[in-house]
Amino acid sequence: MLDFLSIDTGTIVLTLLNTLILFLVVKHFLFGRVNKILEERQADVTKTYEEADKAKEKAKALEADYTELMAKAKDESAEIVKNATKKAQVHSDEIISNAKAEANSIISRANDDIEHERQRTMNEMMNEISGIAAMMAEKIIKKEINQADHEALINDFIENVGDDVWQQK
């Protein structure tokens, strides 16, 4: 039994040893293990953040690409529409001009026909008239001899005017 207030070398040495043992336990098993986990977790968090940043950047790049593509597509579509419109315009113009030309040719042909017909009719008429004149002259010459013949001729002529003699010719 030691005194209440005593300094005992054995206790001091063994306490130092005990403290060292406990220190090693605390250092290795508590701080070592826990700090390792904390560091790993910290590394994970950092990694996650980095990955998130990367993903964000990627998304931004994709968005830029997409926007660019969209703009390009818009331009392209506008161009296509413009070209198509132009083509259609040209085409329609062509069709219209063709139609116009055709119409013109039809009209001119019709005019030609009409003219032709008119000419023909005119000629026919002329022939008719000349025929009539010749006939009349013939008749006149034949029947000049007497009044009676003359009158008969005129009458005959008049009679024949609306008759098939005219119309047959």
Binding site: M1, T11, T19, L30, F31, V34
Partner: protein
Amino acid sequence: MGLKEVNITGPKVAFRIFGLNVTETVILSWCVIAVITGLILFMTHNMSKTNPSKKQIVAEWIVQIFTNMVKDSMGSINLRYTPYMATIFMFSICGSLISLLGLRPVTGDYSTTLAWALITFVMIIHAKIKNDGLGGYLIGFTKPIIVLTPINVISEVATPVSMSIRHFGNIASGIVITQLLYFALTMVSNAIGLDFPIFTIGVPAVLSVYFDLFTGFMQAFVFTMLTMANVGSAYPEPEN
């Protein structure tokens, strides 16, 4: 039913090995170390990075609270002292709190607190030499004037002495008061003619909250904080 004597003694010597006394204190220290080691192994067993269990959260909390304490009082460059500070705090608080189990507190033995104070003393000197060099450390004693050298030496030695005596004194006074109280309560029980010391049930528990729990925690905290403050100021963080 005569007046008995109050006999307050030091720790018993259990056996001797290599000429060293293995006292009650040392054996109880082994028990404390075993319990703390068991708890640590239990808490840090099967730790998970992503899904910590309750015991792991407690372990992480303990580590972080000590890390923050050391960082605040000693600066980031002294973070490697953290495990030692945690050790001394846990050893001290558990060594004091075994008195709640009716055991003799480990810290109620001056040899224990003196051993710890010696560690602190060595740490302070080591930190000072690391900071100023051996020459700088020795010259430091002659400042501000050479006449103060003896006083500086005394104050250097006074740090561990005062720390160890403060810790020992607080816990030892708890032992003394508890024993006196038991003695007094037994006397009262005997005075009213009871063979069984009925008053010793319950009454000491109230005082024990102060003398064992509060003092035990307080002294562990004070001892650790003083160690941190002294070592930290001996090796301060360089100012930017």
